[in-house]
Symmetry: C2
Subunit: 271 residues, 2 copies
């Protein structure tokens, strides 16, 4: 299996870097090929701007989606972006690893998404018509591949629990797991989250490392989060609202977009 | 009233820039003082790194929260960050304006949050003990001020509706409204969201502009989103879980953290 790890922490001696190395060692020991995009070490250009689109008119108004599409089609994206897109196509599994800063990813990683996820590559893929709204949410260029997050946070697990003040971790990560990973096609595995990292002692690190090794050993067998597929008949087109007969009528929020029936019942099947 | 608008779009001729100017004109016409942080025009440094902490040991390991705290206390944050912090203290109302990219803010704006929201300024404020978990979520250095988002997206409103495939817009924006704005104390107003912006014609723009002017006229009277306060007795300490008797027992997700009772019932009062 080919694994791409995109890593976003500024300090090579950080806990995040130590966990990254634990994961890589375990994967390589098991014969997988691993490539790492260490965004800080690469001095990754973070903000989308005119310079990203080599075929843009010097005087033209920058419409980001249009410019992205035209540059992708013409092969006129910048070399750093093309290299990352090739890595995504090469990898069977994508891992994004980062500390949770303000309840989402650090800016440098968001900038990797904003720039690498070009129109025609990660969005704007497939037929758009009255009957089909593109290949996305379970379909798309990266369909058939797996993805997962490795996240650290200083906060307590309770604070991210279903009734915790920060909001449930799965909901906080939904815009990433569903909106960034499931969107271009990935099957998304449950995230690996480590809490209270500022207080992690040696024994705690050893436990965390072992939990992480176990996740790496089961990367290809762990059942993905059962996000619904856009084009599986569960959403109305073009409103893209969940069919009235699906999900609890009272349910609100992100949980509607998971199909929580058992695999045999839903016929989707995992693993 | 003093208003700070933080603006994150790379194109001066964009719809976003036009809406920004509509908002500014309306505010200035009504006698308010407006300052704008146009992040692309300022060439804002996006990624947190060692260079942000002027008093950091050259050989020291970078622990971001610790370095942020020490630099804030010593006045050793960089000048660009200090200027933005002063603007935040000056402003009675903060507006963040951006196009929704991958269901959250563009990287350059996330980098503004990551860098300006220093430890001791926007987090790590107030007493931390067994009985009190700091001044945050309704308290903190920016308490008593108001904040709101102005957001554009290419997607349809239906796709962001309660049963829409992207997830409800209020839930997608919760990590920002609650986790970034309510956290350091702001009263957070409902966001101003414009959908299908790629198809907006002249008449549509005129309507949108008028809706936006109305929001600017009512900036100081619009009732904020009724997010619960951390230290108002509704959360257990230190687990910071919502008291078992509050919110529906079946409720899940972010809605728990809004107090939907009427102001007279909850005694919170708006306006």
């Amino acid at each position: 299996m080919n694994v791409l790890m995109v890593f976003a922490h500024p300090e090579p001696r950080s806990l995040n870097a130590a966990l990254r190395d634990v994961a890589i060692r375990e994967l390589e020991t098991r014969g997988h090929a691993v490539r790492v995009s260490d965004l800080y070490a690469m001095n990754w250009k973070t903000a989308v701007d005119r310079a990203d689109f080599l075929n843009l008119d010097a005087d033209g108004r920058l419409k980001v989606a249009t410019a992205s599409s035209e540059a992708f089609m013409a092969g006129a994206l910048t070399e750093d972006v093309k290299v990352e897109q090739e890595k995504l196509l090469w990898a069977d599994t994508l891992i994004l690893q980062f500390p949770l800063w303000w309840f989402t990813m650090p800016a440098i990683l968001k900038g990797w998404i904003d720039r690498v996820y070009a129109y025609g590559f990660a969005y704007g893929v497939g037929e758009h018509s009255d009957r089909r709204w593109g290949d996305r949410y379970g379909e798309g260029r990266l369909a058939g591949k797996r993805a997962m997050l490795i996240v650290t946070t200083g906060g307590w697990a309770e604070h991210y629990s279903p009734r915790g003040i920060n909001g449930p971790i799965d909901d906080l990560l939904f815009p990433i797991n569903h909106g960034i990973l499931h969107y271009p096609g990935y099957d998304v595995l449950p995230p690996f989250v480590t809490y209270r990292v500022d207080r992690l002692d040696e024994a705690g690190f050893a436990q965390t490392a072992e939990r992480l090794r176990e996740r790496m050993r089961t990367l290809d067998t762990t059942p993905p989060i059962p996000f619904r597929r856009q084009n599986g008949g569960e959403y109305l087109i073009p409103s893209l609202q969940l069919r009235p007969d699906l999900g609890s009528a009272e349910a609100t929020g992100f949980s509607l977009h998971r199909d929580e029936r058992s695999p045999s019942e839903s016929g989707s099947g995992n693993g």
